[in-house]
């Protein structure tokens, strides 16, 4: 009986061992298989993704080449009048001329300067006003209709008044820039401040936080992602502001060149200025986007 039991337990142990071995075997097999499968599928997957990326990049470049090629071709064979439509080759010549005379740097600098100053003032002032409106609910309610009106008003309509009030030239261009950007900054930032979870504010209060502490330690850091989204919008709008301003009153800047070129029917100048404007605006957007990626990490 005893021996029997022993043998049973022995055989059980044996079985266990065998089972364990089988399990291990199975596991290692599975692992190997899995890894092989995985790596195969994975490389395929990676390949597909990089292929897709390549297709997109190539298509983008091809479209650009086709458009430029068509433009050049149609103006060369006279289907379009290069006098009215300019052409890539004429833009290249114009670019060369502008850069060799060096005058273009002044125009680019002026527009960039106006845009950046307007953008900075609008951002700082806008956030400051948003903080005030967050701080005092009563002020917010009192000022609400004024902000709504200011928001819906096309700011360009105020151009002539601006010129009279702050003088023609750079100062009124910057003012136009600020006007265009500030309202959207105020509204977006205020919204972001007010969206902060009420329980988080309650938590701060239950720990004895003052209103200043709630602002500095909760509301402002909480709103940083929204702040950067607002920057992305207002950076584009401040270009609108500066170019609009230059259309109204200026003697230098890319906006001035565009208007001037239009007036003397120098379409090469207009197109070249627009191209340079594109490059500057894209560059600035790129910087903000980089900033965003850093903060979103």
């Amino acid at each position: 009986m005893k021996a029997n039991k022993n043998s049973i337990s022995d055989s059980l142990d044996n079985e266990k061992e065998v089972l364990n071995k089988k399990k291990l075997c199975c596991l290692s097999k599975k692992k190997n298989l899995k890894q092989k499968d995985f790596s195969k599928a994975h490389t395929l997957y990676l390949k597909q993704i990089s292929k897709e990326k390549r297709i997109i990049k190539i298509s983008q470049i091809v479209i650009l080449i086709i458009l430029l090629g068509l433009w050049e071709l149609t103006t060369q064979i006279g289907l379009l009048d290069a006098f009215y439509f300019s052409s890539p080759s004429r833009i290249c010549v114009e670019l060369g001329a502008l850069f060799s005379s060096g005058e273009i740097f002044l125009h680019m600098w002026v527009t960039l300067y106006e845009t950046l100053i307007g953008f900075a003032i609008a951002t700082i002032l806008g956030v400051f006003i948003a903080i005030i409106l967050w701080w005092s609910e009563r002020t917010r309610k009192i000022l609400e209709p004024y902000i709504v009106v200011l928001n819906s008003l096309p700011k360009i309509a105020l151009g002539p008044i601006l010129i009279i009030w702050v003088g023609s030239g750079t100062s009124s261009i910057i003012a136009m820039c600020v006007l265009i950007c500030i309202v959207i900054t105020i509204i977006s930032m205020l919204n972001s401040f007010l969206q902060c979870d009420n329980d988080k504010i309650l938590l701060m209060k239950s720990m004895g936080a003052t209103k200043t502490q709630i602002l500095l330690k909760l509301i402002l850091p909480y709103s940083i992602p929204d702040f950067i989204s607002v920057l992305k919008i207002t950076i584009g709008m401040s270009w609108i502001g500066s170019i609009m301003g230059e259309y109204l009153t200026s003697s230098e800047g890319l906006g001035y060149l565009i208007v001037y070129g239009g007036q003397i029917f120098e379409l090469d100048l207009v197109m070249t200025s627009i191209l340079l404007l594109c490059v500057l605006a894209c560059g600035m957007y790129y910087i903000v986007a980089k900033l965003e990626a850093r903060f979103r990490r």
Binding site: K200, L202, M207, Q213, K217, I224
Partner: protein, 257 residues
Amino acid sequence: MKELLKFSNVKLTYQTLTDEIDALNNISFSINDCEFVAIVGPSGCGKTTILSLVAGLLSPTSGEIILDGKSPKEQSNLIGYMFQKDHLFEWRNIWQNVILGLELKKEHKNIDKLNKIDALLEKYGLKDFKKNKPSQLSGGMRQRVALIRTLATNPKLLLLDEPFSALDFQTRLTVCDDVHNIIKTEKKTALLVTHDISEAISLADKIIILSKRPSTVKKIKVLHLQDYGSPLKRRDAKEFRLLFDEIWRDIQYDESE
């Protein structure tokens, strides 16, 4: 045992544009030092309102609340509040999150207090995560961090507003154990608000059952499950089911009325 909190005939009326809502009506109860008290009741009966009153965020319309000899508004140092969500600040790492309370009191350079927090983190297995962002932690760990953040200012009374209801059931049971263990080891008094009867029974020394609005105290049930140990083990107690049925009927009867 010393009495830490006392509600006597507390009434609270909310004003809205269309109505006057009696949230609480003649609420009286008291909590002793180191007691774990749970408040249960039908939904919308003003459980959270009671916590807001204790935290001094609201004032009673009539009646009196005494927190360690004074009114709650003067005693904000004694209170630690824990919410349904952990509300950790994502832009701060774990360490910066737990010292938030000290920072607000401008005590974040006090080495003694910082060392105490350090010890808490170590004791409850969060030492290695000090530099991590909250998003890198699991739900249960986040809730533990939230509790340590609450404990960092050394409050006497912890207000727990359904602190486990945002967690999935598995995590909930273990975090429940953790939190109970931490509160008992640190010798804190706790006032828990929950809609989960079994949670209340497994955690509390005393359960206050509220009626529906305008809420009154329907029953105060003193439990004797302490000998069973942790909340998870209390769930195995033979009285557990009976208690559950009794409290469930108390609340249910009220709702069907």
